[in-house]
């Protein structure tokens, strides 16, 4: 007998972040609790094409749309609509919204070029069969049956794929070095630490398409001769951990992980390791220390991981997004991959759009897409009719640029050619209501907090930068501070132990250069020019002197 009600929960890649999957489970649980399960079905569906603050839920046959923001909303809908048969008015959305919008949204999605996100929001990520139905594990089968490891390395090299974790190192080369190093044991690691504020793409990829990552890592293992892999996930990403763990179990059950995969004689084991809240553990050698059960402080390089990585064995480490490109490259070829994006940066990039922008979320676009397209075409422009003030590209360690840089195409060369970094693909939009001094101070406070303390230039340098910015924000700054800060940053660039300290000049200098007037305005004013910084009187002692 068909059930009388169907609850459709929109579980597309952006809704997952808003708790879509959690809400869906809660619907099921409550439907059970109220003994409604023989009348009501709870199903997942893709995007309804309307973005709201909450998760959108439709109830058929009435065709009522609700917006769910928290567990109480779910409860209300179950109790009111499903149990008592009356609409939960406060949560209801105007259904006219949907008939108009769906077409617009469908067009937007088709304009997106999806390689990495091709399955996210399309398949049920907890169901391995759905992944397999969309050519899942085909690349692995092809590699194991038809290709020698060296051929796999060749095609990845040929494709021009470069690391999506920030540095843009050619992935094929990394694999080649690891393949060529002789050792009794090698490892493959996926860097899913994703600590860069503003970045949330890896989380969505893992939650939306976990098997693509597992497949890619297994291919990497075969290519370089590794039999063991680890996925290092941020401890805060509870949802991702569960999804990935379930996916790994399913892959083992299907013989796609473990001994003698698909009868090829190749063995690969995969396990999850949890971070514990330290940004520095995203740095590859610190991450390895952490997997080894130690405090995550970076190691001296060289030797690099392909020579001596985890437990001093040759190790391939790549970002989530980097890996997920690989199965498609194997299936469709290096030339296909090179046909997307720009010459030096083939393929797509998953951008995280955030800050004061209308459509916040992730979008996959070809390398070389301009900031303008990301902000206005995909992002829908600046929120609340405000003026655009600046954009931070690339993450907290990325560049602050003004509206004059909107037409910069973003790829791995844009730092060199335009002084705009791609980094991890963050587009943080900052509107006129924010103050340059205040924003930079927050960014430097982040680094001060996350500095691991191993080396002096970074540990002390970040402290000094924060202190000077704090003085400026309180109306006690001096013009010399601007040069002094740049000096500190350049010392940090030259002498810091790892990429955290070394990258600080990028945000600092770009902000000081592009928004210098605002800093001077703070320094030369009697009263706070922006109203965000609260000026304080000079300390009493100083006045007396």
């Amino acid at each position: 007998m068909p059930k009388s009600n169907v609850v459709l929960v929109s579980v597309d890649s952006n809704s997952i972040l808003k708790g879509a999957r959690y809400f869906k489970n809660l619907f099921r649980q409550l439907v059970d609790e109220y003994n409604l399960s023989s009348f009501v079905d709870v199903l997942e569906t893709g995007s309804f094409g309307v973005y709201r603050d909450g998760v959108i839920v439709a109830i058929y046959p009435e065709e009522v749309y609700y917006e769910v923001k928290n567990p109480d909303d779910v409860k209300k809908i179950v109790e009111e609509h499903l149990l008592k048969g009356r609409r939960a008015k406060e949560l209801e959305l105007d259904s006219a919204l949907f008939t108009d919008k769906i077409s617009v949204e469908a067009k937007k999605v088709s304009e997106e070029t999806r390689v990495v996100l091709r399955n996210a929001g399309v398949i049920d990520p907890t169901n391995i069969d759905e992944y397999i139905a969309r050519d899942g594990y085909m690349a692995l089968a092809k590699v194991l049956n038809e290709m020698k490891p060296v051929e796999v390395v060749e095609i990845v090299k040929e494709s021009g794929l470069r690391g999506r974790g920030g540095a843009g190192f050619p992935t094929g080369l990394k694999w080649e070095f690891t393949m060529k190093t002789e050792a009794d044991q090698k490892y493959v690691i996926c860097n899913a630490d994703e600590g860069e504020p503003g970045t949330f793409k890896d989380r969505l990829i893992m939650e939306g398409d976990p098997h693509a990552l597992i497949e890619a890592m297994t291919i990497a293992g075969y290519a370089v001769g590794a039999t063991k892999g680890y996925i290092y996930i941020r401890g805060e990403y509870y949802g991702s951990v569960q999804n990935i763990q379930k996916a790994i179990e399913d892959a083992y059950e299907y013989g796609l992980l473990g001994e003698n995969i698909l009868g090829s004689g190749f063995t690969f084991h995969l396990a999850v390791r949890l971070g514990a809240g330290a940004y520095i553990c995203g740095e590859e050698t610190a991450l390895m220390e952490s997997i080894e059960g130690k405090a995550g402080r970076p190691r001296l390089k060289p030797p690099y991981p392909p020579v001596s990585g985890l437990y001093s064995k040759p190790t391939v480490i790549n970002n989530v997004e980097t890996f997920v490109n690989v199965p498609q490259i194997i299936l469709k070829g290096a030339d296909w991959f090179k046909s997307i994006g720009t010459e030096n940066s083939p393929g797509t990039k998953v951008f995280s759009l955030c800050g004061n922008i209308v459509n916040r979320g992730i979008v996959e676009a070809p390398m070389g897409t301009t900031i303008r397209d990301l902000v206005y075409k995909y992002g829908g422009g600046i929120a609340n009719g405000k003026e655009l003030k600046m954009i931070q590209t690339g993450g907290t360690a990325g560049t602050f640029v003004g509206p004059d840089k909107l037409d910069t195409p973003l790829d791995f060369d844009s730092m060199k050619n335009y002084g705009v970094s791609l980094g991890s693909g963050v587009i943080l939009v900052i509107d006129e209501d924010n103050c340059a001094v205040d924003v930079l101070k927050k960014a430097m406070e982040f680094f001060e907090h996350e500095s691991c303390g191993k080396c002096t230039p970074c540990r002390e340098g970040t402290k000094m930068l924060v202190r000077m910015l704090d003085e400026i924000s309180k109306g006690r700054g001096k013009e010399e501070y601007i040069d002094a800060m740049k000096n500190i940053a350049s010392t940090m660039l030259d002498s810091s132990f790892c990429g955290l300290g070394q990258s600080i000049p990028i945000p600092l200098n770009s902000m000081l250069d592009n928004f210098k007037e605002e800093f001077l305005a703070h320094i030369n004013a009697k009263e706070s020019p922006c109203g965000i910084c609260k000026f304080e009187k000079p300390k009493k002692k100083l006045v007396r002197r």
Binding site: Y22, P197, G239, G293, A295, T396, K442
Partner: protein
Amino acid sequence: MEKSVCKEHEKLYRELDEFIQEVEGDSSALIEVLHKAQQIFGHLPIEVQEHIAEKLNIPVSKVFGVVTFYSLFTMKPRGKYQIKICLGTACYVKGADKLMDRFKEELEIEEGEVTKDGLFSLHAVRCLGACSMAPVVMIGESDFYGRVTPDEVPKIIRNYKNRGGK
């Protein structure tokens, strides 16, 4: 080592020991064990660290070094409901600092403190990877609140108060 622990604690230690046995022999297991221990005990007091050091046969100083390095580990008890406010950049430009102020005001505690009834504690955390919902508040391990305004704060607190100690 003889410890005078009550029945309740004995059970908790037993649960921890079972987990340690599962990962036996894995020299990298320390962080996994600490995650588990914190899940069981709520925090990692020095006695628990000593216990782990003994079981894994490593110096207590190493355990202590790891516990203090990672911000997810805590030696102080936290509230039953840990309120984590993201102060990452994307949340900051969306007014996360005002949310923090409101929570402090409503709960009458400072950041890092626990309310007298033990129900809530307040924490500033870094980017939670949910920037499209900024500003973001996470309560416990799974309750996400996105695009929160300061005026919603009392309601959120009330929700958990109503659940009480359950």
